[in-house]
């Protein structure tokens, strides 16, 4: 590399205030529902009232006659004209599911779209929905994974025997011998309820057609604009160049907006057919039944240990109720394969076995949601470690230390075939214990409680694989290896820098982070750098934002592109200033000699190179636009340890979190305040997962939690103040960065679950089902509800 890089102040590592937040504070940010066009029609969907039924007849006659109704579209209208969503290939697929954009012949979950109504306004479209008469022929319903896999159970898809959408049996190392000869074996069951991301803004899209330029422009509340473009082209039979996908300001994603859903695709079909812009915005009821759910797992987990508490083998059985269809793009393998495969976490497991199943049921499909599969994998093992420690007369922290993968062991290949390196599991645990004054907490716990409450202390440690490169599939068995993303750096003719990437933000301040990295790498002042992250019409290829990857990929690509951009800038500046390149540096958007005797602003240089290039040799004027792909090859492990203190009220079953200490290793920090927001936000969602949130279905497959009055998300009263500490180890990725979006929810479920279990243990109780609602807590204390 030529030219010195003189930077007085590093931007990376400082909590730069995010300019991208300003419009949100003025009410001027443009979310999906804020986009409208003249002549735009509105779409509403008729949704199945049955969990499983044959559609005998769909009569749309009255709806079509309602004034203001433009079009009523049925599954039959679409059949044969567009490709339905077939489950993506997975090595561990049990059978294929086919999801029509609008149901054909059968409906398989309450909320499945049957018809789309297009009208001049949304209210009229909804009025017309009421006029459609559907003749359902109800079919037997499956609402439980363990029932559904039994021979002879009704099938959700005739193509999936035992309702398996996913089935994997894995074994490595001497598992059976370990269980036969172990000093101690322990086993417990664990279950976690069905939940959902609950983005405050639901899904939605505006699709606009014009026979000019981009034929189809789509604004979609989504995390992966390029992926949407690819699949739109594929399913609509269009060229990708005819399609532009923009993700506007997005009100939360958390994975729920990373899948491909039927409704938006129906809207694009309608826009092309009607030659008019159409808009669909999900309401909260639709979001509760028609956007992907998550979790709903039953786990049986066993450990074989030696007399010192060291793990000899880990064995588990996992059942995941994955709902009615294999979620398009990611497959039904997300939860089952990750829960099974990633259970060892930060612990050395020499022998490992699991059987995992993704069982189709008549419920909303399960898709990606923050930390897919890992919270339950981690929590079930953490609870079991506590049980083993109790039986060995050992402290909960001690048994974790004895089994942890330590720095001196690295690189360490665990029995699930993952290699751990550049990660500080022990430093996290030691910091969390020390900051929490763990020994004092335990001593205090031994004293009688003044308020009659049961005090519990939970310790949970986790490993979180982030920023996955091409050598690691995003889920075991899938063919999806989204391990490369690109960034374009473009020095505009005014000398300011534009960063373009298809890495949209749902609040993670991606633009600010990439600007910070670019400022350090180029020497261009932060205020002279802007960033576009959301538009396939402007950005180079990229998979988008998910799986704790965006900071790693965006930053890595910025670093690579900046190297080339700097080379070009310095080469031209050397010519214009008549100085050798190695005497030049870019400081605060100015190229200058080391002694500052000569300076050239980037504005002057950029203008000159574009408007008055006659005297510049061509080889020095290749254009100041550089695109670089970054592939970190492997993933980077992030880590954390959480210490949670709860008080359980034995009369009401209420759980109060009285203290929460977290220590995290998320690599080199770009913007500490942003990172802390990600971690604390993840813990808050973990509070919901551990204590509150559960989507409940009755035995007929009817959803019982379809409003925010039934589905409880944490408010400011339930989320405690989080004491967050950093124990960061730089990763092996460019810049030393790791992902930080997901990990903390893993520690939160494990930490809170262990704390509640620890509290109940004081009365000889325990808890196996989560969220730990007051009823489950009281049952865990042996309270008889008189129901069996």
């Amino acid at each position: 590399m030529t030219g010195m890089r003189i930077s007085n102040e590093k931007s990376v590592g400082t909590s730069v205030l995010p300019d991208e937040a300003r419009p949100l504070l003025d009410g001027e940010a443009r979310f999906l529902n804020d986009i409208s066009f003249p002549g735009m029609y509105h779409v509403a969907f008729l949704r199945s009232q049955y969990a499983h039924a044959r559609l005998r007849n769909v009569d749309v006659g009255k709806a079509r006659e309602l004034p203001g109704v433009i079009k009523v579209l049925t599954g039959a209208d679409l059949f044969g004209k567009v490709d339905p969503f077939r489950s993506m290939p997975n090595r561990f697929s049990g059978g294929e599911s086919v999801q029509h954009w609008l149901a054909v012949e059968k409906v398989r979950f309450c909320g499945e779209a049957i018809c789309a109504v297009v009208a001049e306004d949304r209210a009229t479209a909804e009025d017309a929905i009421e006029l459609i008469e559907v003749d359902y022929d109800p079919l037997p319903v499956i609402t439980d994974a363990r029932e559904g896999e039994k021979d002879g159970s009704p099938l959700v898809h005739d193509t999936c025997p035992n309702n398996y959408l996913i089935r994997r049996d894995y074994k490595r190392g001497p598992v059976d011998e370990a269980f036969e000869t172990a000093h101690l074996t322990v086993k417990r069951s664990f279950s976690i309820g069905r939940k959902q991301a609950l983005c405050l803004e639901g899904r939605g899209c505006v699709a606009a057609f014009r026979k000019d330029g981009f034929e189809l422009s789509v604004w979609m509340s989504h995390q992966l604009p390029y992926v949407v473009r690819h699949y739109l082209a594929k399913h609509l039979g269009m060229a990708e160049t005819e399609i532009r996908v923009v993700a506007p300001q997005t009100g939360g994603g958390f994975g729920q907006k990373a899948s491909i859903y039927p409704e938006e695709f129906v809207c694009t079909y309608l826009a092309r057919m009607l030659r008019r812009p159409v808009k669909w915005v999900e309401d909260r009821f639709e979001n509760m039944v028609a956007s992907t759910h998550a979790r709903e797992q039953d786990i049986e987990v066993e450990l074989a240990l030696d007399k010192d508490g060291r793990i000899l083998a880990l064995r588990s059985d996992v059942w995941v109720d994955v709902g009615a269809y294999s979620t398009y793009l990611w497959s039904a393998g997300m939860e089952p394969l990750q829960t099974g495969g990633l259970m060892p976490g930060p612990y050395k497991v020499p022998a490992f076995q699991y059987s995992t199943r993704g069982v189709a049921t008549n419920k909303t499909p399960v898709g990606p949601y923050r930390a897919v599969g890992r919270p339950s994998a981690s929590a079930s093992l953490e609870l079991l470690l506590n049980e083993a420690a109790r039986k060995l007369g050992m402290d909960a922290a001690e048994i974790r230390m004895r089994n942890m993968i330590r720095q001196e062991d690295m690189p360490y290949r665990n029995a699930n075939n993952l290699v751990h390196d550049n990660v500080g599991y022990m430093p996290c645990l030691q910091m969390a214990l020390s900051k929490a004054s763990y020994d004092a907490l335990r001593a205090e716990q031994g004293k009688p409680s003044p308020n009659g409450k049961l005090r519990g202390i939970g310790v949970a440690c986790f490993a979180e694989l982030t920023g996955l490169g091409t050598s690691t599939a995003v889920g075991p068995g899938t063919l999806l290896q989204p391990g490369r993303d690109a960034v374009t750096l473009r020095l505009e003719t005014s000398g300011v820098l534009t960063i373009a990437a298809a890495l949209p933000s749902q609040g993670q301040r991606i633009a600010t982070a990439m600007r910070q990295v670019a400022a350090d790498e180029t020497g261009i002042a932060l205020e002279d750098i802007s960033c576009l992250t959301n538009d396939t019409g402007m950005a180079p290829y990229g998979f988008g934002t998910f799986a704790s990857r965006t900071a790693v990929f965006g930053s890595g690509a910025v670093i690579q592109a900046a190297t080339e951009l700097r080379r070009r800038i310095l080469a031209l500046a050397a010519f214009l200033l008549d100085e050798p390149e190695d005497r030049l540096a870019i400081v605060n958007s100015v190229v200058q000699t080391v002694d500052r005797s000569k300076t050239l602003t980037l504005r002057d240089m950029a203008e000159h190179s574009f408007f008055s290039a006659k005297d510049i040799p061509m080889e020095l004027n290749q254009g100041f636009e550089v695109t670089a792909f970054y592939d970190p090859k492997h993933g980077s492990f992030a880590a954390g340890a959480h210490v949670v203190v709860v008080d359980v009220d034995p009369d009401t079953g209420a759980v109060e979190i009285v203290r929460y200490v977290a220590a995290e290793d998320v690599g080199r920090l770009i913007n500490p305040a942003v990172v802390e927001g990600q971690i604390i936000g993840g813990i808050a969602q973990g509070v919901g997962e551990a204590l509150l949130e559960e989507l409940i279905y009755d035995e007929q497959g009817q959803p019982r939690t379809v409003t925010l009055a039934d589905y409880l998300v944490p408010s400011a009263l339930e989320v405690p103040r989080i004491e967050l500490h950093h124990a960061n180890t730089p990763s092996g990725a460019l810049g030393g960065f790791k992902g930080c979006g997901e990990g903390s929810i893993i520690g939160a479920l494990g930490g809170i679950a262990c704390a509640v279990s620890d509290a109940l243990a004081q009365r000889g109780g325990d808890i196996h089902e989560f969220p730990a609602t007051p009823e489950r807590v009281l049952r865990g204390l042996g309270v008889d509800f008189g129901d069996d």
Binding site: S15, L17, P18, A21, R22, L24, L25, D26, G27, E28, A29, R30, F31, N33, D34, A123, A197, L198, C199, L200, E201, Q249, T250, G251, G252, F254, D283, R284, Q506, G507, Q508, R509, A673, V674, E676, G677, I680, G681, G682, I683, A684, Q685, T707, L708, A709, V713, S715, A716, L717, V719, R721, I722
Partner: protein
């Protein structure tokens, strides 16, 4: 019953005379008739608080109020929070400086509720802030930065008054 009704509503200091369908919610009226899209709709049943606006000085769920009920009332939305000099009010400033928003969808409601809190209680404790804001859901932040922002805004407002 008439399906439409003429109303006169003052929003952010500007008086609007409009004829609206009687079933139009205040939130839809603000967004679709006045193009004030800063008010966000999160649940349409009064739980999430994203659509909270100030009506005659009181925080109100605009998804649960009809436009016709706002007749002759004074409304402030997020678009009307800047002061007469065009400067952010203390709460906007504090939210920005404390990283108190991520996706920002809930922010309009939080700002409205938090401003009302400080009007009622200029020096709230953390527990009081949590209690007061418990009717607003934020899915991103874990609330901590929001609490910090409200405390910072309260301190700044008190300092201004003393100056």
């Amino acid at each position: 019953m008439a399906r439409e009704k003429a109303i006169e509503v003052t929003v952010n200091g500007i008086t609007h005379r409009k004829t609206v369908s009687v079933r139009t919610s205040l939130a839809d009226f603000l967004r679709d008739h006045l193009y004030l899209t800063g008010t966000h709709i999160g649940c349409e049943h009064g739980v999430c608080g994203a659509c909270t606006v100030s009506v005659n000085g009181k925080a109100v769920r605009s998804c649960l109020m009809l436009a016709v009920q706002a007749d002759a009332k004074q409304i402030t939305t997020i678009e009307g929070l800047r002061d007469e000099n065009g400067e952010w009010n203390e709460m906007q400033k504090a939210f920005f400086e404390n990283f108190a928003l991520q996706c920002g969808y809930c922010t309009p409601g939080f700002l409205t509720s938090a401003i009302e809190l400080l009007r009622e209680n200029p020096d709230p404790s953390e527990a009081e802030i949590r209690e007061y804001l418990s009717g607003n859901i934020c899915r991103c932040s874990g609330y901590q930065a929001i609490i910090d922002a409200v405390q910072a805004a309260a301190a700044a407002t008190r300092a201004q008054r003393q100056a």
